[in-house]
């Protein structure tokens, strides 16, 4: 019951994030929605494991968190440099 109620709230948040992904006027809004959707999915997988009595799902949640991070960074890097192997620092001397 408790897990089902939490799952319902998470599903509502997922729908809202998807809505921003569909509406988002700029590509950055869509990437933000994608990143947030990924975080919510990690939580959803974790709760699903408890809901179904199979805590092994937590391994999948951990992997999803890793892939979500790498994927977001990869999309942003491709968007900015047009090349995933680019390694040049920023031209204006700022860090990171």
């Amino acid at each position: 019951m408790m897990f089902a109620a939490t799952m319902a709230g998470i599903l509502v948040a997922m729908v809202l994030a998807l809505l921003r992904g569909l509406l988002g006027p700029t590509v950055y809004d869509r990437i933000l929605a994608l990143n947030t959707f990924g975080t919510i999915t990690v939580l959803a997988i974790a709760i699903l494991g408890f809901l179904m009595g199979r805590p092994d799902f937590l391994d999948i949640a951990l992997l999803y968190a890793l892939i979500n991070f790498v994927g977001t960074i990869a999309i942003l890097k491709y968007l900015r440099y047009g090349d995933l192997s680019a390694s040049s620092p920023d031209a204006d001397g700022s860090k990171r």
């Binding site: 408790m2 509502v12 950055y28 991070f69």
Partner: protein
């Protein structure tokens, strides 16, 4: 019994924070303000739900895995948010601020 109560409170609070962050993501006017709403989901919502699940699991390896998920989110979400905001800044998105002559005036519609 007390653990049940704490777990229930954490899970409900986390779910409510997630919904609030989702509403903020739809309502706020530009990508920078939306990233604040996403931050509510990434920190408050995620940590409270993981805490509630950990209270359910007790002292087992499951709690350790939940702790690792929390640690991973603790380090990766600010990094990806910073990368996104910096990318948006270099991509020519101007943040809406109150002092700017924008007619929107930086206030949520």
């Amino acid at each position: 019994m007390i653990v049940e109560m704490v777990s229930w409170l954490c899970l409900m609070g986390g779910a409510l924070l997630c919904v609030a962050g989702g509403i903020g993501m739809v309502r706020f006017p530009d990508v920078y303000t939306r990233s604040h709403a996403a931050g509510v989901i990434d920190t408050g919502g995620a940590f409270m739900i993981l805490l509630g699940l950990a209270a359910q699991a007790g002292f087992t390896l499951i709690t350790v895995k939940l702790f690792f998920i929390g640690l991973l989110l603790f380090f990766t979400t600010p990094t990806s948010t910073h990368a996104l905001v910096k990318g948006a800044l270099f991509g020519g998105q101007n943040p809406i601020v109150r002092d700017s002559p924008d007619k929107d005036n930086g206030v949520a519609s």
